[in-house]
């Protein structure tokens, strides 16, 4: 599955990565003011969390060969 890495030192708790996710992969820890990468297996590498992060505190490493796609059922 894709890997989403958060640098908790650089993160300023602005919540943009959480808001930017369009399919609920990222949840929010209100107490710690940090993202929770709750469902990485559903991430579709749209990269919005990474490119919207003003602190460069988050990175997505896509692993396309694990993406859910019916490879054996094309024709």
């Amino acid at each position: 599955m894709n890997t989403i890495i958060v640098n908790n030192e650089l993160c300023n708790g602005c919540k943009i990565c959480f808001k930017a996710c369009f399919i609920d992969v990222i949840k929010w820890d209100a107490e710690a003011r940090r993202p929770i990468i709750a469902f990485p297996e559903e991430c579709v590498q749209c990269m919005f969390c990474e490119i919207n992060c003003t602190q460069r505190a988050l990175k997505v490493h896509p692993k396309y060969d694990s993406y859910m796609f019916p490879r054996e059922n094309l024709a």
């Binding site: 369009f22 399919i23 609920d24 297996e41 749209c46 990269m47 796609f69 024709a75």
Partner: protein, 572 residues
């Protein structure tokens, strides 16, 4: 504990169509409470900010020229011509309005909107039979561009204009009161709290169904479609909801124009034979040719990129000046392309199902058949019948943002007018209780099936080109039977949190959409435009007709309706 909220106009979905509807409803009648409810976060949600950021405009063409070209070459007269003309007549002003709302349309130094001609398509054949391309093919449309943070800017504009927003609440069902709309029931996607939102009118702008096959189309899971079906709304053109892109299996990115340079494993160009002189975008025939070659054992198929004649024109469309003017889109696409091509090792291409299944019937006011219920955006692209016999994006790229903006601009004032003349509806407790029981069933289930496991099984039925594009009665019946089998597994779905309870609701919507798709496909016994049947290769001698899908006592029922050509200005 339930939370109750009341609005005059309630918009479901906070991407471009929903925001356009909200702003124009509020402008139409500032005294109304206009509220947007969005499953994720408005401004970031949806698909309108994750595409190319190109927007269809007419340029110098007239709406009549656009409509006539479109009917003849793309829509095959399966259009509601009044809707097509209305769509065409609003294309240029869409861009002016998007710029007013966002300031993100790319303009030249004089403040004029920059456009480029759509150059996808050969103009003639050379003497040796090869295709000849010109810089400006006479397609009656052009493309404007927008930076991809525009939806976020429009979200800000809407808030400043007094539109209210409720984020992270997903709608799961619609409420009715004596046959008319009464509101929605949704749930907080983080803590599962039930939210009952009553409203005099509702605009569904929450996307279509894409079965989660193609990555960037993943948010479109059909909950709006299934909710509308459950309260008896009519659907049409459901059989056209199967768009495919050429993609690489190594990164799932689109490979536009692959049909020009498509080779089988024997080294034969098998794409060009399907390319017609008027070829405004990917065609169903080239995808069917991929299927025939694969079944004949001639695969895999290869895309020889260097031979793709579309590439220079695609590159010139995205010229340096446009790129500089779009810092966010540039960052977005550079990141995607770096990721995609750093992991690509071969030239194999396959048709990847995109779907774009959005057959919710609307008239020219964007009204559905349920009083007080309106729609905008992807959910009603096919249902509007503006485009006819074609899958979204309708063989005219840039149409997603164009249709979303257009339909929102129509739906907003329509819903506001309806609300201004309507009494406050009653939200009936028995409906709310039944919806709650349905939504929470997976949380109380003793089953063990996870939503994603069922999604994978649905995708195995929807993705095959032989099921969803190059169709045959036998394959359609097998696919439908498999969908029925999967429906029987729904009670075994199991959820432990709101995320997976939503997942279960989405899976139910996916199965309903699949059933509508295959039943409508069986009813259309012909090949016309994007719709191909191996067993019925010619257009029907009966002339253009729509396949209507309706809810008959909970069952998906299909029927035919002749296109009323005599009421329209243009004849085949």
């Amino acid at each position: 504990m339930s939370q109750y909220t009341t609005a005059d106009v309630l918009i479901v979905g906070g991407s471009i169509a929903g925001l356009a509807a909200a702003i124009t409803a509020k402008e139409h009648d500032p005294s109304l409470n206009v509220t947007v409810v969005e499953k994720y976060t408005s401004g970031y949600a949806g698909k309108a900010n994750r595409g190319a950021g190109v927007i269809l405009v007419l340029g110098e063409s007239t709406p009549e020229e656009f409509a006539q070209f479109y009917l003849r070459h793309i829509g095959m007269y399966l259009n509601n011509q009044r809707a097509l003309l209305q769509y065409a007549s609003m294309l240029n002003s869409n861009v002016e309005i998007l710029d007013k709302w966002s300031g993100r349309i790319v303009k030249d130094e004089n403040g004029k909107v920059r456009t480029s001609k759509w150059t996808s398509g050969p103009v003639a054949r050379n003497e040796d039979g090869t295709l000849r391309f010109a810089e400006t093919v006479e397609y009656p449309w052009e493309l404007a561009t927008v930076d991809l943070d525009y939806v976020l800017k429009i979200y800000g504009y809407a808030r400043r204009k007094g539109v209210k927003f409720i984020n992270r609440v997903g709608m799961v069902d619609l409420l009715t009161d004596d046959g008319r709309i009464a509101g929605i029931v949704g749930y907080d996607i983080d803590d599962g709290t039930q939210r009952v939102l009553t409203a005099k009118s509702v605009v569904l702008a929450c996307g279509n169904q894409d079965w989660r096959v193609s990555p960037m189309w993943s948010p479109a899971r059909g909950e709006g479609i299934s909710a509308a079906f459950r309260i008896g709304a009519r659907f049409v053109n459901c059989e056209f909801g199967s768009f495919y892109n050429w993609i690489s299996l190594e990164n799932f990115e689109s490979e536009m124009g692959a049909e020009y340079a498509l080779y089988n494993d024997k080294g034969e160009n098998i794409g060009l034979r399907t390319v017609k002189d008027v070829h405004s975008d990917i065609n169903a025939e080239s995808l069917a040719e991929w299927y025939k070659q694969t079944v004949a054992g001639n695969g895999p198929m290869h895309h020889r990129v260097r031979e793709n004649p579309l590439l220079p024109s695609l590159e010139s469309m995205m010229d340096a000046e446009v790129m500089r003017a779009r810092p966010f889109a540039t960052r977005f696409w550079n990141t995607l392309m770096f990721n995609a091509f750093s992991q690509k090792t071969n030239d194999e291409v396959v048709p990847g199902l995109v779907g774009e299944f959005g057959g919710l019937w609307v008239d020219e006011d964007m009204a559905t058949t349920v009083p007080g219920l309106f729609a905008a955006g992807d959910i009603c692209v096919q249902g509007s019948r503006a485009w006819g016999a074609v899958a979204q994006p309708g063989r005219h790229r840039g149409s997603g943002i164009a249709f979303g903006t257009y339909s929102g601009r129509v739906a907003g004032p329509s819903a506001a007018t309806y609300a201004a003349g309507a009494q406050v509806p009653i939200a009936h407790d028995e409906q709310i209780t039944a919806i709650d029981a349905r939504f929470n069933a997976p949380l109380n289930s003793d089953g063990s099936l996870k939503p994603l496991e069922l999604v994978a099984e649905i995708q195995k039925v929807m993705q095959p080109v032989g099921n969803s594009l190059y169709r045959h009665e036998q394959r359609l019946r097998s696919a439908l039977a498999r969908i029925e089998d999967l429906k029987a597994l729904l009670p075994q779905l199991w959820a432990t949190d709101p995320h997976h309870a939503f997942g279960a609701n989405e899976v139910a919507a996916m199965l309903l959409c699949s059933e509508m798709f295959f039943k409508a496909s069986l009813e259309r016994r012909e090949s016309l435009g994007w719709f191909l049947r191996e067993d019925c290769p010619e257009p029907s001698p009966d002339g253009p007709h729509w396949v209507i899908v309706e809810n008959e006592e909970g069952q998906v029922s299909v029927s035919k309706q002749r296109v009323p050509l005599e009421d329209y200005p243009y004849q085949p």
